[in-house]
Amino acid sequence: MSPVAKKSVNPLSPKERIKVPRQLMPEQPADERNKNFTEVNLGYSPELARQEALRCLECAKPTCTDNCPVGVKVKEFVELIVVGDFLGAAAKIREDNVLPAVTGRVCPQEDHCEGKCLLSKKVKPLGIGYLERFVADYELRMGTHVIPDIAPTGKKVAIVGSGPSGLTVAGDLIQKGHKVRVFEALHELGGVLIYGIPEFRLPKQIIREQLDYMREMGVEFETDVVVGRTITIDELMQEEGYDAVYIGTGAGLPQFMGIPGEHFNGVYSANEFLTRINLMKAYKFPTYDEPMVELHGKDVAVIGGGNTALDAIRSALRLGARKAYVIYRRSDAEMPARAEEVHHARQEGIDFQMLTAPTEFLSDGKGWLTAARCVRMELGEPDASGRRRPTPIKGSEFDLPLSVAIMAIGTTANPIVQSTTPGLGTDKRGYIQADSETQRTTRPGVFAGGDIVTGAATVILAMGAGRRAASSIHDYLTNGQW
């Protein structure tokens, strides 16, 4: 790179750029979309994308890139949009991010790239997520992707789990010439992207196209294999000849609160609720065989304030719920969900009961849920997480009538692989120990990353771990040193 700044392709002066307003994302009207599963955001047109791209200040030290967990070269891809080279822009993103159509939609941009965009000091940050999504969708529509021609190395890598983390490792390693096989416990590939995040936020077709592309590149997939049960890590390495293994099994196990009545009919974990809808298509019963409780005209609440909680309750609303509540024990400021989702949920008519927590579920005496007994909270001193600790307000108890309650209060480590792999180190909470740079575990040849190492986090963090792992797996396979 030349030390002399090259001439900008952007015709606007910095002052003019700041005056261009952030281009709004076209979306389905709230009172229509809350009745269907079609995507909420409709995507930029090429004109809108170019207009938005013009706002970038082309910073000398782009803090946006520094704050992207995989270091997407934002300034460079945005420049390519300005000149209308959308495919070039997509290729530029792909150098660092194999799933741009996904991350453009689901990254909490306000915590990463956009949160540190220089523009945000004065005006709204650049719509980096929207632009990323635009070029990725453009590329998918054009159907042009190059299948690189790579000489095989003769090495074999097994990947456990087909979530964003495992898929990133697979995508990177196949391009280095290694043979890659992904083992997935469920009958569909994609992890949370398939069974968790609903169609109206992340159309499943996008994941399928990505998977097809990976298949074309030579990645092999085997579903219906629970590693640890169907075959162990040791068997993969010793009997099936894998030279290295990557574990990306996610943080799958739902937590419950341990309050009375959680076993009543009508109380679900968010995982079960979303799995029935997304993976098993229960909302298409009886075309699909998997049933779920009838939600039409029913009052439904989700307990929790993360993306999972919002996905669950917005799905319930789309399935005909009369009232749809979010019950969250802290305040707006602490809600971990993506800002855009909270905004969309409010528009759609979700009723947010903040600073509120259930203490007990009540039933009709025949085992069916009828209400949640709740208590209002106030925020006290900061707790270990640095957030102010909610404490119940005496005498504020009330009963909220409900037919369905969905628990979305977090997940714990999925233990199946750890408990069947001798010598694989775990932390206090049961997550796999892995080096934060190389993603190496305590077992030679075995790497791990994503939610199974960090605990429930984000798609892009899981992909970042996958990226680091792929590079260190490649080193290990090349020089044989541990």
Partner: protein
């Protein structure tokens, strides 16, 4: 895709399948199950592995027609394919040498109890098996169980075969006769398991039951299979399916298994209507034909 190597009705509405599933066959232990999905629109249902042959790479399952999915499964034949079969899931039965083990099987539960009975026998226990069925035709696996049991007792609800009565009558007799029982393993309908648990609780006999809540993934991910054990939630697919019978809250199990009853009945009714309309092949006729061959 998993190929059906062999399929045959062993009683009216109860069919045994031998499936090609080499990875599962190699790992299966008594007490474990698979989850299967027949076709794209299908639900995932758990079924116990009756037997496995690691050499041939096959497993066998025994399925009783209950609702739509099991009816559909039981309409499949040798050579057909099943879309997904995953396993072996769940903790294996804890097999040790204890002395005398009484294995109680009710209905299709007999097929689920059989692999554990065989394993207890191999471990050097005296195995007493008690099999209960509604009526003569529904007594299954008699020969197989006889082969692994020191004694086999059979009851039918209507007295059409062996002794009239319930499995608990036989168990009570054993206890009254002063038989030393070190462990009871009971697998069958919830009412039967609960009755066994009540009986042995009074006698302080260690008792294990295999629970059958509704499941989806079978890997601990959804929490739908939670059962109340000692007043705490446990996930039957990973913490079970076998639990200490005296700690199980059977009432909650019955309640949760009834959660989708309306939808299930609608599914089955729609399916049967469609079958009648087409009336391609009639399972009952097949079963009757097979019975008269015996």
């Amino acid at each position: 895709m998993f190929k059906i190597i062999h399929a045959q009705f062993i009683a009216p509405g109860i069919k045994r399948f031998v499936l090609e599933a080499p990875r599962i066959a190699r790992k299966q232990k008594a007490g474990q199950f698979v989850i299967l999905r027949i076709y794209e629109e299908g639900e995932r249902i758990p079924v116990t592995i009756e037997n496995s042959d690691p050499e041939r790479g096959t497993i066998s399952i025994v399925v009783q027609s209950a609702g739509k999915t099991t009816h559909l499964l039981n309409s499949l034949n040798t050579g057909d394919q099943i879309l997904d079969v995953v396993g072996p899931l769940g903790k294996p039965s804890e097999i040790e040498k204890l002395g005398t083990v009484v294995v109680v099987g009710g209905g299709v539960g007999t097929a689920m109890a059989y692999p554990s009975a065989a394993a207890f026998k191999r471990a050097g226990n005296r195995v007493i098996s008690i099999v209960g069925a509604r009526t003569k035709e529904l007594v299954i696996l008699e020969q197989e169980l006889r082969g692994v049991s020191d004694a086999l007792m059979i009851t039918t609800d209507d007295g059409s075969y062996a002794d009239k009565g319930f499995v608990t009558d036989k168990l009570r007799q054993l206890i009254q006769n002063g038989t030393r029982i070190d462990l009871v393993l009971a697998i069958g309908p919830i009412v039967m398991m609960r009755a066994v648990a009540e009986l042995t609780r009074k006698e302080n006999i260690r008792t294990v039951v295999s629970l059958n809540p509704v499941m989806i993934d079978g890997t601990g991910m959804c929490g739908g299979c939670r059962v109340l054990i000692d007043n705490k939630s446990e996930f039957a697919c990973v913490d079970g399916p076998e639990f200490d019978a005296h700690k199980v809250n059977f009432e909650v199990l019955v309640q949760r298994n009834g959660m989708y009853r309306d939808a299930e009945q609608k599914s089955l009714a729609d399916y049967q209507l469609a079958q009648q309309a087409h009336s391609t092949r009639n399972e009952e006729h097949c079963a009757i034909a097979q019975r008269s061959e015996r």
